[in-house]
């Protein structure tokens, strides 16, 4: 792990050079003791230069690592050799002396390697400690902070920790564009197109590969590096890239691998925070939508109650006037029956409006249960006015399976289709209500002998307030019936279509999946 010594001391607390002090004290003590107690101190000191050299190699390697220790060992070997040469000529070099020199070299190299390894391990431990300390500080800053100020505070903290002159966050907006979080940073980036280019390149790379490695300007960006060295780290989350973290490196040096690693982890923490915030926003939006839905539902219920209650009272009162024991002349009874019919129509039209409102407001969820298909037929017949009931031909073959659907809603849907068929068919023409099934679907169909639905109108007739161009033979209808039918079918995950019947007429077919 390579790092800049000058930056190291500048960025991090200086390490006390205890080994240097101990080494110097030891060497001084050795020289003093040798001088004081040896019979020929000068000779002894000269003979023991090798010990002194090995001690110095150990000190240097302990302070500056293996490479410095080995270089120093070679240097000491060279100095010792020169000292020996200065004492005599090459001819004076004995084999013992050469052995001594090379033994010194070997011991010095071993000492350098050992001490250097110890130092490297110490450096690694220090780096780990620094990393943990930084992450701890960052997490303490990020985790308890919520709200929009959290990111700004986090960025300021990161900028201070990394000795960066600029720390910015670019996030993807709704349009998919990268936007700086702090608006006042826009001019800063406008003046530095190379910084913006770096951010965009990193984001593009992140989108392509979902990689999360920090990125520096490439060699081609050499000019940009002169004006400001920088690092950009993508912010990636499970749902995709969220943005880019940009830091300009300090003037005194570039970030080392450890710091880049730290930046990557910091970016992951920021991405996790952003993702959490996005989820929180989504939850809040869902809660707001649910509240709106509930409000609409309550509104529909309230309007329903407000409209239906007086209608129910009027219906009960007017029908009460026709009950036994109440003497009325024929004309009055006819008028009362007509009023009752009007009230019934009014009730059905209000019902249609409320059904559409309910479907749009609350998502009229079907109450799915296992049902006999034949029950739909009898339930529809119960709702059809007695005068028209004889026109309905039910074709429900025996052996139809039990299917899962909402009986009330499906009755409602088929009632609308039957009502529609009655309205568009000639008087007394039969309406066929039938059911069938195969391995995938159960089918209900309502067949009339009316004018049919032309090809162009087949998709439109299910829209609100749409009527077939052929026109109904009876007055009335809100134009909502088929909309209600198609919505009910949709909520059952089914489908509806209209077909031609020869020689004339139409057939509405509802298909429901067997396991809806």
């Amino acid at each position: 792990m390579e790092r800049s010594p000058s930056r190291s001391r500048a960025s991090w607390p200086a390490r006390p050079d205890y080994l240097l002090i101990f080494g110097l004290v030891g060497i001084t003590a050795f020289i003093l003791l040798s001088t004081l107690f040896a019979p020929d101190p000068a000779s002894l000191v000269r003979d023991r230069y090798d010990i002194l050299g090995i001690l110095l190699v150990g000190v240097v390697a302990s302070l500056r690592g293996t490479r410095a220790g080995l270089l120093f060992a070679l240097g000491a070997f060279a100095v010792l050799a020169m000292l020996e040469f200065s004492n005599g000529s090459l001819e004076g070099m004995t084999a013992d002396l050469l052995v001594d020199l090379f033994v010194f070299l070997g011991v010095a190299l071993v000492q350098g390697v050992q001490s250097g390894h110890l130092r490297q391990r110490e450096i690694a431990a220090e780096e780990n400690q620094r990393r943990l300390s930084l992450l701890s500080r960052l997490s303490q800053r990020l985790v308890p902070t919520v709200g929009s100020s959290a990111l700004h505070e986090c960025l300021a903290e990161l900028r201070d920790l990394m000795n960066a002159s600029q720390a910015s966050l670019f996030l993807v907006d709704d349009a998919g564009e990268l936007v700086a979080q702090a608006r006042d940073e826009a001019p800063w980036f406008a003046e530095r197109p190379e910084a913006m280019a770096l951010v965009e390149r990193v984001f593009a790379g992140c989108v392509r590969s979902t990689g999360d490695e920090p990125c520096r300007p490439q060699q081609s960006d050499a000019k940009g590096r002169e004006s400001g060295k920088a690092v950009a780290v993508p912010l990636s989350a499970a749902g995709g890239p969220l943005g880019v973290l940009y830091l300009s490196e300090p003037e005194r040096g570039r970030y080392d691998a450890l710091e880049l690693d730290f930046l990557r982890i910091a970016a992951e923490m920021i991405a996790a925070y952003l993702e959490g915030e996005q989820q929180q926003t989504a939850i809040s939006a869902a809660a707001a939508e649910e509240a709106t839905r509930r409000l609409k539902s309550n509104l529909v219920s309230s309007v329903s109650h407000g409209l239906k209650t007086p209608l129910a009272a009027a219906t009960a009162t007017v029908t009460g006037l026709l009950e036994e024991g109440t003497v009325r002349d024929d004309e009055t009874r006819r008028e009362l029956r007509s009023t009752i019919q009007d009230l019934k129509v009014l009730d059905e039209r209000i019902g249609d409006l409320l059904d559409v409102s309910r479907l749009e407001a609350t998502g009229w969820q079907p109450n799915l249960d296992w049902n006999d298909l034949a029950d739909v037929c009898s339930s529809v017949l119960t709702r059809v006015p007695a005068a028209s009931r004889t026109r309905i031909r039910c074709q429900f073959p025996s052996g139809l399976p039990i299917a899962r659907f909402d009986l009330v809603q499906m009755t409602h849907a088929l009632y609308h289709l039957v009502e529609n068929a009655l309205a568009y068919s000639p008087p007394d023409a039969p309406i066929v209500l039938s059911a069938s099934s195969d391995a995938e679907f159960v089918r209900f169909s309502v067949e009339d002998s009316g004018p049919g639905v032309c090809e162009e109108e087949r998709d439109l007739i299910f829209d609100k307030f749409q009527r077939g161009s052929a026109g109904s033979l009876v007055d009335g209808g809100t134009g909502l019936g088929l909309t209600i039918v198609s919505e009910i079918v949709r909520y059952h995950s089914g489908r509806i279509r209209v077909e031609d019947v020869q020689p004339h007429g139409s057939r509405f077919v509802i298909e429901l999946p067997r396991e809806s």
Binding site: K308, A312, A374
Partner: protein, 234 residues
């Protein structure tokens, strides 16, 4: 059980809507003694004071809900309870029937429908406490004492479950029996799969007792709520 003759029976109507109360008085007062209560609290008080023979109860009450009133009344009152509900209120109807209500009527209703329900409920309330030995629906006779079913005098062969279902419905003739009640009477505990099995058994039962199973006239479906064994047109 309080023996009651239909004419002169005392009916308590609990509804918060003055229009409905007025209409109820207009329809019912010709044949019955009518008490009107405009809230659940008032309804409970009147019920305690006047001991009605029938209670007509709206489920959508302010304050104490109709459901609460139904539960409280059922703790001590044996008179039948007819609930008034809106369309699409199947869940409320089932809950009220499970709480002990006897029948329901969906708003808006015709005066004739209301009177028919009232008559049927008062008639059942006045019948023998142990219930009839035989229940007749057109040409179909269910003999609950002998555990026999005949159609036009010919015995109908039913499986044990089919008979249990038919007997449960016939013993509450003309009353709605919810799907949950039927399942519990057959299997004990209600589950979705039991619902499927129940539909199959009822389909088979109808194929044995109904002239046209697709348009049943003995065991009719109350959509979203349950079934009713008809002894006459309600």
């Amino acid at each position: 059980m309080i023996p009651v003759t239909a004419r002169g029976a005392k009916i308590l109507v609990i509804d918060d809507e003055p229009h409905i109360l007025r209409a109820m008085r207009s329809i019912l007062s010709k044949s019955y003694e009518v008490e009107l209560a405009a809230s659940g609290e008032e309804g409970l008080q009147f019920a305690a004071e006047c001991a009605p023979d029938l209670v007509i109860l709206d489920l959508a009450l302010p304050g104490i809900t109709g459901m609460e009133v139904c539960r409280t009344l059922r703790e001590w009152l044996k008179a039948p309870i007819l609930i008034l509900s809106v369309r699409d209120g199947e869940g409320d109807k089932i809950a009220a029937l499970d709480l002990g209500a006897d029948d329901y009527l969906t708003k808006p209703f015709l005066a004739g429908e209301l009177l028919a329900h009232v008559r049927a409920l008062l008639r059942r309330a006045g019948s023998a406490p142990n219930g009839p030995g035989q229940v007749r629906s057109g040409d179909l006779v269910v003999d609950l004492a002998e555990r026999k079913v005949t159609r036009r005098g010919d015995p109908v062969k039913l499986t044990r479950i089919e008979y249990t279902i038919l007997a449960r419905l016939a013993s509450s003739a003309d009353k709605v029996v919810t799907t949950g009640m039927l399942i519990r009477s057959v299997w004990g505990v209600a589950t979705t799969e039991d619902s499927r099995a129940l539909r199959v058994h009822i389909s088979n039962l109808r194929s044995k007792i109904e002239p046209d199973p697709s348009v049943p006239c003995h065991v009719v479906t109350e959509p979203g709520v349950g079934y009713r064994f008809l002894t006459e047109s309600v």
